[in-house]
Amino acid sequence: MASTGILIETENNAVKETSLGVMTAAAGQNIIALVTDADPAGLKDKLAEYGAAKIVKLTAAGKDVSASPDLAALALAAAVEKYSLTALLGTASTTGKDLFARLAAIMDQPMVSDCVALDIAAKTAKKSHFSGKTFATLKVDAQVFLATVRPNAIEAKASAGAGEIEAFSADVADPGLVTIKEVKKGDAGKIDLTEAPVIVTGGRAIKAAENYKMLEECAAKIGAAVGASRAAVDAGYAPHSMQVGQTGKTVSPRLYIACGVSGAVQHFAGMKTSKVIVAINEDKDAPIFAKCDYGIVGDIFDVVPVLTEKL
């Protein structure tokens, strides 16, 4: 049986929910989970439950691969060879996208970024084209099928695997092209926007940066991340790191609650593959009501506090 590698992402020594969806994309394959940033023993139960036949702790010459992105990519390329992988999948997170692009260049293999569906046996992948306006089905002519999967796009389904743990130290060295000088920590404990299962977004109608507190309180009740529209970012109410849409982040949560967002085509480019979209807007003619699932016409400063209270 052909083996497919999955690059597992972790947080606080637990498997990220998004990685389980990526494993589900490889259902039916001999799944080899590659772990670089956590102790595999603590992940074993979860990874076995979602189909990992093997769990490999991957290091570069016995050391952590995170010293440089090029080193991590070289270590992954070595793992592809060692385990004769015919496919390697990861999450289209900020780091996942960067790493797989480096890996694809090193291996000189095609790579499909940010897939919403894929068929490993047929080597086809479906992904967004034209800022979320169309889906493209791509056929990949590759020895090793490399792809990243849009977070939350594929629902995780359990499927038992043996989950045998082993270690692989790749014989690779950092080419020294780039040096990480510093990591500036953002707000600790903040849920990553691109990977959040639920997102509450504030648009121009939020009127001031301090009013995001109202959305944060609502988000905290349901484990959601808080986003912003371009209009809100351009008005200086929120940093660009919170922007959803064209020139911001692409997200695909199971629930997206847009508060005071008008619904420009560029905003939809970043969130239209969400499972359920709810809009709350004072303007009954706002374009967002034509393209969402549920709408409430009302002032966000009236509606959101009630929502927070009742959740």
Partner: protein, 256 residues
Amino acid sequence: MKICVCVKHVPDTAATIKIDGDAGFKDSEIKFVVNPYDEYGVEEAVKLKEKNGGEVVIVTVGKKEAAATIRSALAMGADRAILVTTDSQFLDATLTAKALKSAMEKDGLPDVIFTGKGSVDTESFQTQYRLAHFLGIPVVNEVSTLSVDGKKAVAELEVGGGDKQVIEMGLPCVIGATKGLNEPRYPKFPDIMKAKKKKIDEMALADLGIDASAPGVTLEKLEPVPERTGAKMIEGSVDEQVTELIRILREDEKVL
């Protein structure tokens, strides 16, 4: 200092994409523009030139019609351009990177190469990495702050969860630009007129010895993303609306 900026000719993000056949779209009816992320690269390159002197060269792989898009980039202050022509809007990223590399080698390698963090048409987010790998030089993507001196570049980029990395690399290097790096300028009328006289060197993919007959990735099908047809509006008092919304999300949709 010589700076190259890779610019892609893409449909305006506000344009409606009409699908034509299985995997084509009607490109004659819509407006094409400089890929929005590439604009940050052009602006940064022109600012570097204004500070340190040198030359900014736009390098595009695209259809012949891309010349009009290149003029917009030249109007922002770039000096000249190279257009490698292909018939396809969807040229495989590996082939595009090979074409960019060959065109730059032929012209003389730059000290800094800018690209956008990705293109808004194919959204494949990898051409800059392949270009850097072919040239054997460093690459950093999604750069929102940059400083370049004679020998090195220091870039800041978001790495998820609001964390930022500060990365140092030697020159030459490839920088993938994103929003926040700068505010791209709007060319003034005299700049637009001047851009009309700037030189665009045109060559075909085959002139660079690139065989596009066996791409690694082929577009098989293009289909519209299903649009929602309009919301179910929830009526009543705020209290009633919110209660009904929560009920729907919990019981009907099961997303809470």
